[in-house]
C-alpha cells in the first residue's frame, strides 16, 4: 500500500472539519489507492494534496464531537472554586510558592532593571523633529593602522557647505567654547561665579534652535543670537543666575565670561522636556567667537568645532557625504601635500547613532550598543534560568495535586480548562513575583545607582512600560505554566484515583536533562564564588596592605590654586602654622601625598664609579614635617632641612638601587642632575627612605625623590590626634581657621585612607557586581537543585520505605539521597575550577602587587557550594527519611 504525502495528511488532520474528519480521511486514503492504480503515483499524490487543500476548514469547530454537553467552566461557582483552590494551593505550599516567587522575581528584576537601562539609552533625542534627516558631520582618520573618529570638522566647513552643497536644508554649526566660570554681578556686591558644566558653553546661531525644539520663554530666536556678545540661557540656568527675577526681566542683564568679556542675556528657553544629548545650558552667539578663517584651517580638525546638517527631504545622504568629502579634499589637498598628515575623511553620523557613537570620546554620556544588546541577552538568560526552575519546581509539585486533578477530570473538566486553571495559578505567582521584583529592583537602583547613568531610574515611558510589563507577564506565564499544565492535563484519572500514585515521566532522558541543568547552574555559581572570593581578597589586600606609610587619622585639603599662582605663599604658611597650633592636631605638613593620582617625573643622571646612569625619577615636593607625619622610615642619612628651593633629595630604596647602589647608605652623598633642569645643578642625596607605594597597586614602585620647594606646595596634610569622636570638633576648628584666611574657598577635606580606597573604585564596583551576581547564581542554582531533590525524594518514596523497614537509619537514607546530588555539584566544581583559575589569573595580572591564587580558595569555594547544596537538599531528604514507612508503603 502506498502512503499519500505526509504534509497533505497533516494539513487535512489539522485544518479539516473535525466533524467529518474520520470518513474524509478514510475516503481519501481509499481514493488515493485507486488513483495510484488508475493515474500513477505522482498524479495520485497531486490529487490527494489538492483535495486535502480544498477540504481545509481552519475556522471550523466540532459540532457534535462531545457525547456529553461540556460543563460551562466560566460560571461564577467555578470561578470562585478556582480562586479558592488557587489560594489554598499557594498557601498550603507556602514554601514552594515563596521559592517560585523568589526565583521568578530574580528573572523579572533582571529584565526590569535592564529594560529600564535599555529604554533609557534608546530614549535619547527621540523627540527631535525630522530625526531621520538630522546628521552630524564628523571626521575619521587612519592612525597607526586603526580607524579613529573625531566629532569635529574643519572650522570653515559649515559656511562652505551652506554655500556650495545642495541637498542640505540647514547647516547648524556648534562650537564648544572653553568657559570655566560665569560671573553674575550681584546688586551691591562682588559678582558671584558659577562653574559651567564640563568647563564649556556652546556657541551657536539661530539654526540650532530650528533643529532642537526649544520653547522660547523670552527673546526671539531670530534676533537673540545674531550679534556678538549675546547669550541665551535655559530656564534652570536663568533661575540659578538670577533667583527671584522674572524671566522677562532676565533678558537684558549682563554676565561676564573669562573674567573680562561682558555678554548680554538676550533670551531664555525652556529646558528640554525629554532625554537629549543636546545638553547645552548656555548658548553663546556664534558671532562672539567667530572670525575670518584662514584657508589653512581646512586641514585642521578640532573636536570643539562641530556641525550638524538637516538634509532636505528626499536628499541622498551618500551623495551629500561624497560632496562634503570632495569639498574638504579640494580645500585641504594642497596643505596636506605640503605638510603631510594622516588620511582624513568625513562621515555623516545619523542623529539616531549620536548617542551610541562611543568611538568619538566625547564628554557627554554615550552608550555602547553592543553592551546594551549583551545586557538584553543576559536578562533573557537569567529569565530563562528562572523559568526553567519554575517548571522544575512546579512539575515536582504536581503529584501532590494528582487527586484533585483526577476528580476534576472525572467530573468533566476538560484539558483546556485544566491547563487554563494551571496557567491562572502561574499568572498569580508571576504577578506576585512582579510585586516582589518591584521591591528588588528598587533596592538595586538604590544600592547600585552609581553604576548606572544618572537619570536612568527616573526615566519612564509609560505606554512602553505598560506594554513591556504586560508582555513580560504573559510570556512568563506561558513559558512557565504551559508545560506543567500540559503534564496535568495528560494523565489518566483512573490510575490516579485507583491509588497508584502518579509517576510523572520516569523517562531517563528528561532526568538527564535536569541533571545537566543542575551541573550547568552550579558551574556558573562556582565561577562566581571563586571570582568573588579572589576579587574580595585582592580588594582587602589593597585596602589593608601596608603601603609603606601611615595613613590613619590624616586629612588632606587642596590650598586654593590661585593663591599658589599669585605666590601669596605667606598666607598658606600662616594657615599651616595656625592649624598646627589647634588642639587635636598633632602635626601639619605641606606636600603632595605619598600616594596620589597625579605625578611629575623627569630623567635624572648620576655619576657613579661605573659611569653615568640616567633613569626616570618621580619627584614630590614636600616640607620637613612630611617624613615624620607619614612615618616614612629613614633607612640611611637624614631628613630634609628647611629650604625655599630644591637643595637636597631624600630618595627611596628603589631609586638607590636604580642608581646602582647595593646598600641604601651608599647612595647618601651622591649627586643627581635633572635633565633640562636649571643649569646643570647637582643636588645631593641626603637620605634614603624605605620603599612606599606612591601609586595604586596596579603600578610597581618607582624611583622617587622628595625635595623641598616652597613655591610648589599646594596640599595641606593634617595629622589628627586623639580619638576619632573628637575629630569633628577639631575639623570644625580647622574650618574656622581656614575661612579666616580664605573666606571665598570652601574647606574641602578628605580623609586620606578614604582617598586611597577611592583608587580602587573600579575594583570596588566590580566586587559589588560580582557579589551580587554570585548571590543570584547561588540562589538560582539552589532553586533548581531543590526542585530536583523534591522530585527524586517523591519518586523514591517507596524505595525509602522499604529500606527503612529493612533497617536503614535516617542518616543512611539522607546520605543516600544526597550522594547523587553532591556528585553533580562535584562535577560542576571540577569543570568550573580551571576556567575560574584562568579568568582570575588574567584579572590579577593587571596588578603589579597582587595576592597569589592558592588551592584553598578553590577548596573553600567548592566546600561552600557543596555545603549550600547539602543544606538545600536536606530540606527534602530529611523529610523523606523520617517519614514513617507505614505511610509510604500503605497506599498501593
Amino acid at each position: 500500500m502506498q502512503t499519500p504525502p505526509r504534509w497533505a495528511s497533516w494539513l487535512l488532520k489539522t485544518f479539516g472539519h473535525p466533524d467529518t474528519l474520520e470518513e474524509v480521511e478514510g475516503d481519501l486514503l481509499e481514493l488515493y489507492d485507486y488513483w495510484v492504480q488508475t493515474h500513477g503515483k505522482a498524479a495520485a499524490g497531486r490529487r490527494y494534496a489538492l483535495s486535502a487543500l480544498k477540504l481545509m476548514r481552519p475556522m471550523a469547530q466540532s459540532r457534535h464531537n462531545e457525547p456529553y454537553s461540556p460543563p460551562f467552566s466560566l460560571s461564577l461557582v467555578m470561578i470562585s472554586n478556582y480562586i479558592k483552590i488557587a489560594r489554598r494551593q499557594l498557601w498550603r505550599n507556602r514554601l514552594f510558592t515563596g521559592l517560585n516567587m523568589v526565583g521568578l522575581s530574580i528573572g523579572v528584576s533582571a529584565c526590569w532593571i535592564i529594560y529600564q537601562l535599555v529604554s533609557f539609552e534608546f530614549g535619547f533625542d527621540t523627540r527631535i523633529p525630522n530625526r531621520d534627516r538630522v546628521f552630524r558631520a564628523v571626521s575619521r582618520f587612519m592612525f597607526d593602522g586603526k580607524e579613529q573618529g573625531n566629532p569635529g570638522i574643519p572650522m570653515p566647513m559649515p559656511d562652505a557647505v551652506r554655500q556650495q552643497i545642495g541637498g542640505v536644508e540647514r547647516v547648524v554649526p556648534v562650537r564648544l567654547t572653553w568657559v570655566e566660570t560665569i560671573q553674575v554681578p550681584q546688586p551691591g556686591g562682588k559678582p558671584q561665579s558659577f562653574p559651567t558644566e564640563g568647563d564649556q558653553v556652546i556657541a551657536v546661531d539661530s539654526n540650532y534652535f530650528r533643529m532642537v525644539p526649544y520653547t522660547w520663554l523670552a527673546g526671539k530666536p531670530d534676533v537673540s543670537l545674531n550679534q556678538p556678545n549675546q547669550i541665551v540661557l535655559t530656564q534652570s540656568q536663568a533661575t540659578a543666575f538670577f533667583p527671584k527675577t522674572d524671566l522677562r526681566q532676565v533678558v537684558g542683564k549682563t554676565i561676564t565670561l573669562w573674567d573680562t568679556l561682558a555678554v548680554q542675556v538676550t533670551g531664555v528657553v525652556q529646558d528640554l522636556p525629554f532625554l537629549s544629548d543636546f545638553t547645552g545650558k548656555e548658548f553663546l552667539s556664534l558671532a562672539t567667537v567667530r572670525r575670518k578663517y584662514e584657508p589653512a584651517e581646512w586641514s585642521n580638525t578640532n573636536s570643539d568645532s562641530q556641525m550638524y546638517a538637516v538634509l532636505s527631504p528626499g536628499a541622498d545622504i551618500n551623495q551629500v557625504e561624497a560632496n562634503i568629502n570632495a569639498l574638504s579634499n579640494k580645500n585641504s589637498e594642497e596643505f596636506f601635500k605640503k605638510w603631510g598628515g594622516t588620511k582624513r575623511w568625513h562621515k555623516l553620523q545619523p542623529l539616531t547613532d549620536l548617542h551610541f557613537g562611543t568611538d568619538y570620546r566625547e564628554d557627554g554620556h554615550r552608550a555602547d550598543k553592543s553592551v546594551l544588546y549583551g545586557l538584553m541577552g543576559l536578562a533573557a538568560f537569567i529569565l530563562v534560568l528562572a523559568v526553567i526552575n519554575y517548571i522544575n519546581l512546579a512539575s515536582a509539585q504536581i503529584p501532590q495535586r494528582a487527586r484533585e486533578i483526577g476528580i476534576r477530570k472525572t467530573l468533566g473538566s476538560r484539558r483546556r480548562t485544566l491547563i487554563l486553571q494551571f496557567l491562572g495559578e502561574t499568572a498569580v505567582i508571576t504577578g506576585l513575583s512582579f510585586a516582589l521584583s518591584y521591591g528588588l529592583s528598587h533596592l538595586f537602583f538604590q544600592q547600585y545607582s552609581d553604576l548606572l547613568p544618572t537619570g536612568t531610574r527616573d526615566y519612564v515611558n509609560w505606554p512602553l512600560l505598560v506594554l513591556f510589563l504586560a508582555g513580560l507577564l504573559i510570556i512568563i506565564t506561558l513559558l512557565a505554566g504551559l508545560y506543567p499544565g500540559w503534564l496535568i492535563a495528560r494523565f489518566q484519572p483512573v490510575t490516579v484515583l485507583r491509588g497508584q500514585g502518579f509517576a510523572i515521566e520516569g523517562s531517563p532522558k528528561r532526568i538527564t536533562l535536569r541533571k545537566s541543568l543542575i551541573v550547568f547552574q552550579f558551574f556558573i555559581a562556582q565561577l562566581f564564588i571563586v571570582g568573588a572570593l579572589i576579587i574580595n581578597q585582592q580588594l582587602r589586600y589593597f585596602i589593608q596592605a601596608d603601603m609603606g606609610f601611615a595613613r590613619d587619622a590624616i586629612i588632606t585639603a587642596q590650598i586654593p590654586w590661585k593663591t599658589i599662582m599669585d605666590t601669596k605663599l605667606d598666607k598658606r604658611d600662616a594657615l599651616r602654622d595656625e592649624v598646627n597650633h589647634i588642639a587635636g592636631v598633632s602635626m601639619v605638613s605641606l606636600g603632595t601625598q605619598p600616594a596620589s593620582r597625579g605625578y611629575s617625573s623627569n630623567i635624572h643622571e648620576v655619576k657613579t664609579r661605573k659611569g653615568i646612569v640616567s633613569f626616570n625619577l618621580f619627584r614630590k615636593y614636600v616640607d620637613t614635617d612630611y617624613i615624620p607625619l607619614y612615618q616614612l622610615p629613614l633607612v640611611a642619612g637624614r631628613n630634609l632641612q628647611p629650604s625655599d628651593t630644591i637643595r637636597e633629595y631624600v630618595i627611596n630604596e628603589t631609586a638607590a638601587r636604580e642608581m646602582g647602589f647595593a646598600r641604601p647608605a651608599d647612595a647618601v652623598g651622591a649627586f643627581l642632575k635633572e635633565n633640562g633642569g636649571d643649569a646643570n645643578r647637582n643636588v645631593p642625596v641626603v637620605g634614603v627612605v624605605k620603599d612606599f607605594h606612591a601609586q595604586s597597586f596596579h603600578e610597581k614602585i618607582k624611583p622617587i625623590a622628595l625635595m623641598t620647594n616652597r613655591e610648589s606646595l599646594s596640599m595641606l596634610n593634617i595629622k589628627l590626634s586623639g580619638r576619632s569622636d573628637s575629630w569633628p570638633q577639631t575639623i570644625n576648628t580647622i574650618t574656622r581657621t581656614w575661612h579666616k584666611l580664605y573666606p571665598d574657598a570652601p574647606f574641602e577635606y578628605k580623609f586620606y585612607d578614604q582617598t586611597i580606597g577611592d583608587f580602587y573604585k573600579k575594583e570596588q564596583q566590580i566586587s559589588r557586581i560580582i557579589n551580587l551576581a554570585t548571590g543570584v547564581a547561588i540562589l538560582i542554582s539552589c532553586l533548581g537543585l531543590f526542585g530536583l531533590a523534591t522530585l527524586t525524594a517523591h519518586q523514591r518514596t517507596k524505595e525509602i520505605g522499604i529500606r527503612k523497614v529493612l533497617g536503614a537509619s535516617v542518616a543512611g537514607v539522607v546520605a543516600l539521597l544526597s550522594k547523587d546530588f553532591v556528585k553533580l555539584v562535584l562535577v560542576a566544581i571540577l569543570l568550573a575550577s580551571p576556567l575560574a583559575w584562568y579568568a582570575m589569573h588574567r584579572w590579577l595580572e593587571s596588578f603589579a602587587y597582587r595576592i597569589d591564587i592558592e588551592w584553598w580558595m578553590f577548596a573553600a569555594a567548592g566546600l561552600l557550594a557543596i555545603a549550600i547544596a547539602l543544606i538545600t537538599i536536606s530540606f527534602q531528604s530529611i523529610k523523606a527519611a523520617v517519614v514513617n514507612p507505614i505511610k509510604s508503603l500503605r497506599a498501593e
Binding site: D27, Y34, K54
Partner: protein
C-alpha cells in the same frame, strides 16, 4: 408546497446515491460519477455537495464499515430520504413537462 431547488451537480450526486443504494459513500459516489458521466470530479466537490444535501434533508447518513485499507476508519454511508426522492421526482417532472412542451419539429431537429 415549497419548491425543491437542486443544482445540476447536486442532482447528479443525489441520483448517484439513489443508484448505489446501500453501498453509497464518498469513494463509491466519486468513482460512480466519474464512470457514469465521464467527467473528472474532485473528491472535495463531492464531499461538500454531500454535506450540503444532508443539511437540506435530502440525504441521511450513518457511520460504519471500517476496513484496513482506510486505516481502520469508518465510512459514512448515505441514503436518500423521502424528501430527497420527492425532490428528484419533482425535478424529473419539471424536466418532462418541458420536454413534452417541445414542438415536434424541434424535437426532430435535436435528433431524438
Amino acid at each position: 408546497m415549497k419548491r425543491a431547488f437542486l443544482g445540476e451537480f447536486e442532482e447528479v450526486v443525489l441520483l448517484t446515491v439513489a443508484i448505489l443504494g446501500e453501498s453509497a459513500y464518498g469513494v463509491t459516489i466519486t468513482q460512480e460519477i466519474e464512470q457514469k458521466t465521464g467527467r473528472s470530479v474532485g473528491f472535495s466537490t463531492v464531499h461538500t455537495t454531500l454535506q450540503r444535501l444532508e443539511e437540506k434533508g435530502y440525504l441521511s447518513s450513518a457511520m460504519g464499515g471500517a476496513t484496513a485499507e482506510r486505516g481502520g476508519r469508518r465510512k459514512r454511508y448515505f441514503t436518500i430520504t423521502t424528501a430527497g426522492t420527492k425532490a428528484l421526482a419533482e425535478v424529473k417532472h419539471t424536466r418532462d413537462q418541458l420536454w413534452n412542451a417541445l414542438p415536434p419539429q424541434t424535437l426532430h431537429l435535436l435528433g431524438a
